[in-house]
C-alpha cells in the first residue's frame, strides 16, 4: 500500500472443522465482519489453511484489490507464516496480514457458552480489523552464516553432532570441560537394553573425533564468553593448562609411571573416588585425547615447584611437559552453536535417610557402573568397599526423581539402567538382587523385553520404595537393613543387604544457569535448557543459531541423545548451507533523534541486544539479537523506541476497537 492509500480489508473466518464452527456462529461472524469499516470482502470457509482456502484469499486480493488480510482462525503460532506467504504470493506485503485467534481464545475456552463466545469472537475480529488498517510494510533483514560450528560438550551427543558436521565438511570446534571426551557413556560398562559394550561402540567415535581433520578438539576447556548473534558468533574459550603441550605429548604415559609418588593415592574423579590415580594421569585407558594431565592441586611440581621432576627426565619429547604453562583464551568465529552439556546425577546426600556417605554399603548407580566396568577400579569385579563380594544387593529406583521434595520429573532412564545393573550384578556375582520400584517404565524399543528377561533371571522386583535404611551393626560398617512396603503383598519387608544401590535420577548441570546466560537461552525451573517447541522445534532454542542435543535439554537415553544430536547437526547444516538467514521483522528500533542516551533500556534487555553507540551516546539495538519482547519499548522514558509489527498506533487502535465492543455488548468481550 502506498502512502495515503485507503485500506481495503478482506476478512476470512475459518471453521477449523468443528473446532470453531462447533461453538461459534461462523456465518454470522463473517456477516458481522463485513459491516466493519474498510472491510471490502468477508467470508467463512471450512479450512482456511487448506490449499483451496489459501487460493480463496489470493483470488480476492486479485479481484477486489485487497491490501490487507485478516484471518480469524487459530493461533498465529500455527499459521501466521502460512497466510503471510499467501499474501506475499499475491503481491501484498506479508506484514499486511493480521491473524485473529478465535479458536483458542473464544471457541475452546468458552465452549460451554456458545452465544457469548460468538460475541467475544466479534470483539476480537473488530479489534483485528482496526489493527490491520494501521499495519505498515516491513522488510526482513538477512545475515550471512559463518560456516564453522561450536559444539559445547564432548559426551555422546556432542561427539555425534561434531562428527556429523565434520563429515559434512564443516569446521567444528568441540569444547569439553573434562580432560577427555566420552562423557558419562564412557563410564558405563554395558548399555541397555541390548547390553552392547559401551566402550566398544563409543571409543571408535571418540577416536574419530580425535583424528578428524575438520574437528578442533579442546578438552580441559570451557566457553567463557559469547558475542554476536546467529551467523557470526565470537566465542572466547578458556583452555586450562594441563602442563603438557598436547601437540608434543605422544601419550606414552611414562611420566605417570615415573611420578615421584609411587602409588596412586588421589581419588579418581572418573571413578567417582572408588579408584585412585596419581597427580599426573589420564582419566581412563581409552581417553581422547590420549594426553596426560598434571593435576595442579596434587602435583607438587605445579603447586610448589619443589619436585625432582622424574617425569620430565623420563619424557622422550623435549618440552612436552611444561610446568610454566598458563591459561589461554583463544577466540573463535562460528555461525552456529550446538549445546550438548549433558547432565549430572542426583546427589543422594540430599536424602540422608538412605545412608549414602554414612554407610559404606550404600552406592550410587554411577559408582556401580564403574565397579562393573572392565577398566574401572576393580577391573569389572563387583566387590564391596570392604573387599567382600555381595550376596544380597538392593537397587532402589526413583532416587531424587518423581518427588516433590527433590525433582518432580521422571528421569526416564533409571528403570532401565537399574534393571541393567541388576542383570550385570546377578551375572557377575550370583547375588540375590532386589529392585525396589514404584512403576517400571520401559517404553522403548526392546525395553519391555529386557524387563521380561531380567525377571526371568530371578531378580526380585518389589513394588514399593525403600523408606528407611538402618545399619545392621552399630558401627554402620556392615550390612544395611532396608524397610519397604511391598505394596503388592500388602506387607512390610525388611531386607538385609550387603550392597544398596541408589538409582539416582538425572539433573541439569550445576552451572546450567550460568551457561544459559552465556548463550542467551532459557532454562526450565529444573535447569534443563528449554527447546523452542517441545514437538515441532525440539532442538532449536529461542536464540537463533543455538541448538540443543542430549541430556542438557531433558533426561534421555543414548539412542535419543544420538538422534537429537543428529537433528541439531542437521539444523546447523541447514543454516550453513543456506548461507544466510532472514531475521524476524519483529524487532525494536531507536529513533536516534529522540533518544536521550539515558541508558534505561540497556540493562533491561534480556538478550543483551542494546548498546550505546560511542559517538553520540545513543542506544542502538542489534536486530539479530532482539527477540521483540518489548521491554525496552515500554521502559523508554522518552518514547524513542518503537517496534516493528507492534507500533503504538496499531496497538491503540486495536484496544480502542475492543473497548467499543465491550461498552456496547456489556460482558461480550469477557
Amino acid at each position: 500500500m502506498k502512502e495515503g492509500e485507503t485500506p481495503r480489508i478482506g476478512v476470512y473466518v475459518c471453521h477449523c472443522g468443528l473446532n470453531i464452527a462447533g461453538v461459534l456462529s461462523v456465518k454470522s461472524l463473517a456477516e458481522y465482519a463485513g459491516r466493519l469499516p474498510n472491510v471490502v470482502v468477508s467470508r467463512d470457509y471450512k479450512y482456511m489453511c487448506s490449499d483451496p482456502g489459501q487460493e480463496l484469499i489470493r483470488q480476492d486480493i486479485r479481484e477486489h484489490g485487497l491490501n490487507r488480510v485478516v484471518v480469524a482462525a487459530c493461533s498465529p503460532f500455527l499459521h501466521e507464516e502460512t497466510f503471510r506467504r499467501v499474501c506475499a504470493s499475491a503481491g501484498v506485503n506479508p506484514y499486511f496480514y493480521q491473524m485473529v485467534n478465535i479458536r483458542e481464545h473464544a471457541a475452546w475456552v468458552h465452549s460451554h457458552e456458545k452465544e457469548k463466545a460468538t460475541r467475544k469472537a466479534e470483539d476480537l475480529i473488530r479489534a483485528g480489523v482496526a489493527r490491520a488498517a494501521k499495519l505498515e510494510p516491513v522488510v526482513r533483514q538477512r545475515v550471512p552464516i559463518h560456516p564453522a560450528v561450536l559444539v559445547v560438550g564432548g559426551g555422546i551427543a556432542g561427539i555425534q553432532a561434531a562428527l556429523t558436521l565434520a563429515d559434512a565438511g564443516k569446521k567444528v570446534y568441540l569444547v569439553e570441560r573434562e580432560p577427555t571426551i566420552g562423557g558419562h557413556m564412557a563410564q558405563f560398562d554395558k548399555t541397555f537394553p541390548t547390553l552392547d559394550c559401551a566402550a566398544c561402540i563409543l571409543t571408535p567415535k571418540m577416536t574419530a573425533v580425535g583424528n578428524h581433520p575438520n574437528i578442533t578438539l579442546w578438552t580441559y576447556s570451557d566457553v567463557v564468553k559469547v558475542d554476536g548473534s546467529v551467523g557470526h558468533f565470537t566465542v572466547t574459550v578458556r583452555r586450562r593448562p594441563r602442563y603438557v603441550h598436547e601437540d608434543l605429548c605422544i601419550g606414552c604415559l611414562l611420566c605417570i609411571e615415573s611420578c615421584i609418588y609411587p602409588d596412586a593415592r588421589v581419588a579418581s574423579e572418573f571413578d567417582l573416588g572408588l579408584g585412585k590415580r596419581k597427580p599426573v594421569y589420564i582419566p581412563f585407558p581409552q581417553a581422547v585425547p590420549m594426553k596426560v594431565v598434571f593435576d595442579p592441586e596434587t602435583c607438587i611440581a605445579v603447586k610448589t615447584g619443589k619436585c625432582t621432576r622424574p617425569c620430565v627426565d623420563v619424557c622422550g619429547v623435549e618440552g612436552a611437559i611444561d610446568f610454566e604453562q598458563k591459561e589461554e583464551f583463544p577466540q573463535i568465529e562460528v555461525g552456529t552453536i550446538i549445546l550438548a552439556t549433558g547432565f549430572k546425577t542426583f546427589d543422594p546426600h540430599r536424602l540422608p535417610f538412605y545412608g549414602y556417605g554414612r554407610y559404606p554399603a550404600v552406592y550410587t548407580s554411577l559408582e556401580v557402573e564403574r565397579l562393573l566396568n572392565a577398566s574401572g577400579p576393580t577391573g569389572g569385579e563387583v566387590v564391596l568397599r570392604n573387599g567382600k563380594k555381595p550376596e544380597a544387593v538392593g537397587i532402589v529406583h526413583c532416587i531424587g526423581s518423581r518427588d516433590e521434595n527433590t525433582n518432580r520429573y521422571c528421569s526416564r532412564v533409571c528403570c532401565m539402567y537399574a534393571m541393567k545393573i541388576a542383570h550385570l550384578i546377578r551375572e557377575r556375582t550370583g547375588a540375590e538382587v532386589y529392585n525396589f520400584y514404584i512403576d517400571i517404565r520401559a517404553p522403548g524399543k526392546g525395553f519391555e523385553e529386557f524387563y521380561d528377561r531380567v525377571q526371568e533371571e530371578g531378580v526380585h522386583f518389589i513394588r514399593g520404595k525403600v523408606g528407611d535404611v538402618t545399619p545392621e551393626t552399630p558401627d554402620g560398617k556392615g550390612r544395611v537393613v532396608v524397610s519397604a512396603d511391598d505394596t503388592l503383598l500388602g506387607r512390610a519387608r525388611k531386607i538385609p543387604l550387603d550392597m544398596l544401590v541408589l538409582a539416582v535420577g538425572l539433573e541439569a548441570q550445576a552451572d546450567a544457569n550460568e551457561v544459559r546466560r552465556l548463550f542467551n537461552i532459557t532454562c526450565s525451573e529444573e535447569g534443563f535448557f528449554v527447546e523452542r517447541h517441545p514437538k515441532l522445534a525440539p532442538v532449536n532454542t529461542f536464540t537463533d543459531g543455538v541448538f540443543l542435543a542430549g541430556c542438557c535439554q531433558s533426561p534421555k537415553d543414548i539412542p535419543d541423545s544420538v538422534a537429537q544430536a543428529g537433528a541439531a547437526a542437521a539444523e546447523a547444516l541447514a543454516l550453513i548451507d543456506r548461507g544466510e538467514m532472514e531475521l524476524s521483522p519483529n524487532f525494536a528500533y531507536v529513533s536516534a533523534e529522540e533518544c536521550s542516551g539515558c541508558k534505561t533500556c540497556v540493562p533491561l534487555c534480556p538478550y543483551s541486544a542494546i548498546t550505546l553507540e560511542p559517538e553520540h551516546g545513543k542506544a542502538v539495538i542489534n536486530q539479530a539479537l532482539c527477540k521483540g519482547c518489548g521491554v525496552c519499548v515500554a521502559a523508554c522514558p522518552s518514547g524513542s523506541i518503537g517496534q516493528h509489527l507492534f507500533e503504538d498506533a496499531q496497538i491503540f487502535d486495536e484496544i480502542e476497537a475492543l473497548i467499543q465492543g465491550v461498552a456496547a455488548n456489556g460482558e461480550g468481550a469477557r
Binding site: G467, P474, S483, A492
Partner: protein
C-alpha cells in the same frame, strides 16, 4: 469435616496424587502394628472406605511423628491434616481408650493432661534459687514470655528441667516471665488427635490470657508447644514471634559460651524431636537440627556422637498425637515401645547420655532406660540441664 470437605482444599487434593510408592508405610515406626498402615489408608480414603479406617483402630497407633509426611514424594499432608481428621471421626464411635480420654478430660478441666490442679501449676517456682516473675503478680512489659508447658510444670523430672532453664535465662540476663497458674495446655494432643473443638477452645482461652500482658516474644520449653504455636496459632491472629528454648539459647550461645566452664565428660547423643524438625516440612528455616548440637558441642569435655536415626530421619519417642496417653493401649496391643528403640540406638551409638529437648521425652526415655535395664549404661538429660551443669548448676547462681 469429612473427606469431601478435605478435597476442597489444595492440601487435601494432593491425596488424589498418591502414587502408592509405600514410602510412608516403610518409614512408619508403627507400621507393623497397624491393620491399615499409611499407604493403605490413603488408598482406602481414595476409595471412600473412611469408615473402615476409623473402625480399624489403626489411627490410634499413629504417633504423629511426621515421618510419612516428610518423606512423601507427593507431599501429602498425612500427619497434620488427614490423620487428625480421621481420628476426629473416632470420637463418634467411642473408640478412644480410657487413658487418653482421661487426658482429654483433664485438659478440658484443668488445662493439663496430668489432671493436676491449676493452682499448683507454678508450685515449682518456689524451689527456684533465681527469681521467676509471674505476670499475674507483676504485670507490665516483658521481653520474653516463657510458656513453661504441662510436663515441666507438674512432672518432677520436667520441673528439674524448668529449674535449669530458669537458671540459664537468669545467667543470660534475659527479661522473662511466666503465666503461672494462668497458663494452660497449648493444645498439642488435642490438635493432633483430632479433638479440634478442644484445640480451638484452648487457643481461644490462651489468646485471651496473652492479650492481658505485654510481651515481645514467646519461648516454649518444648517441641510440641512450639509446633502448635507455629502451625495453629497464626490462624487465630497470633503473630508474636515464637522460639523453642533450644533455638533461643542457641542464639545466645556467644554469651553463654564463656560461662560453660565445668567439664561434662560424657559421650552424648541427641534425639531430634519430631516437632522441631520434620514437622516444619519445607520451611527449613524453622527446623532446629543445628542449635541443640551446637549447644552440646560448646560444652567442655563433652563428646558428641550421632545415632543411626537423626535429623529428618530421627525415630519418634512415641509420645506425639496422643501417644503419651496410649502406652497402655499399645502394651495391650503387644506393641513395641518406640522410646525403647531410641534408647537402644543411643546405647548402640556409644552414648552414655541421651540428650533431649522435648517436654515429653525426659520421662518417656527414662522409663525406657529402666525397662531395658540400661540404668548403668545411659542417662537421659535435657540439653538445658547439661548446659546448666556446665555453667555450674544451682550452686553457681
Amino acid at each position: 469435616m469429612d473427606l469431601d470437605h478435605v478435597l476442597l482444599y489444595p492440601e487435601g487434593k494432593s491425596l488424589l496424587t498418591c502414587i502408592q510408592c509405600g514410602v510412608c508405610s516403610a518409614t512408619c515406626p508403627q507400621e507393623a502394628f497397624m491393620e491399615y498402615p499409611p499407604r493403605k489408608i490413603v488408598a482406602m480414603l481414595k476409595a471412600g472406605l473412611i469408615d473402615e479406617v476409623v473402625q480399624s483402630g489403626s489411627m490410634l497407633k499413629c504417633v504423629s511423628c511426621y515421618s510419612c509426611q516428610a518423606k512423601c514424594p507427593r507431599q501429602i499432608r498425612l500427619t497434620d491434616l488427614l490423620f487428625p481428621l480421621i481420628r476426629g471421626r473416632m470420637f463418634e464411635g467411642g473408640g478412644i481408650p480410657a487413658e487418653l480420654q482421661k487426658a482429654f478430660l483433664d485438659v478440658q478441666r484443668y488445662g493439663n493432661p496430668l489432671g493436676r490442679s491449676t493452682s499448683e501449676r507454678s508450685d515449682w517456682v518456689a524451689r527456684s534459687k533465681v527469681p521467676i516473675r509471674i505476670l499475674a503478680d507483676r504485670p507490665g512489659p516483658v521481653d520474653l514470655l516463657w510458656n513453661v508447658e504441662c510436663y515441666p510444670s507438674y512432672h518432677p523430672r520436667g520441673q528439674a528441667v524448668a529449674l535449669a532453664t530458669a537458671r540459664l535465662f537468669h545467667r543470660l540476663g534475659l527479661d522473662f516471665a511466666i503465666l503461672g497458674s494462668e497458663e494452660r495446655c497449648i493444645g498439642d494432643c488435642a490438635g493432633y488427635f483430632g479433638e479440634f473443638g478442644l484445640l480451638d477452645a484452648l487457643i481461644e482461652q490462651n489468646l485471651t490470657t496473652f492479650r492481658k500482658y505485654d510481651f515481645r516474644r514467646v519461648v516454649t520449653s518444648g517441641a510440641h508447644a512450639f509446633n502448635v504455636f507455629a502451625h495453629h496459632y497464626p490462624g487465630y491472629g497470633f503473630t508474636t514471634p515464637v522460639e523453642p528454648v533450644v533455638g533461643l539459647i542457641g542464639e545466645e550461645l556467644p554469651k553463654l559460651r564463656p560461662m560453660l566452664k565445668t567439664s561434662v565428660p560424657h559421650k552424648v547423643t541427641y534425639h531430634d524431636p519430631c516437632c522441631l524438625g520434620r514437622c516444619m516440612g519445607a520451611s527449613a528455616l524453622r527446623c532446629y537440627f543445628a542449635p541443640p548440637r551446637k549447644l552440646l558441642e560448646a560444652i567442655p569435655g563433652l563428646k558428641y556422637v550421632e545415632m543411626a536415626h537423626h535429623h529428618e530421619n530421627s525415630l519418634c519417642c512415641g509420645g506425639g498425637g496422643g501417644g503419651m496417653w496410649l502406652d497402655t493401649y499399645y502394651r495391650d496391643q503387644g506393641m513395641d515401645r518406640l522410646s525403647e528403640r531410641v534408647v537402644k540406638e543411643a546405647v548402640a551409638a556409644g552414648a552414655d547420655v541421651l540428650a533431649v529437648t522435648c517436654d515429653y521425652e525426659v520421662s518417656r526415655f527414662e522409663d525406657a532406660v529402666k525397662v531395658l535395664g540400661y540404668d548403668r549404661k545411659i542417662v537421659v538429660r535435657d540439653v538445658l540441664e547439661l548446659l546448666d551443669e556446665s555453667a555450674g548448676g544451682e550452686a553457681a547462681v
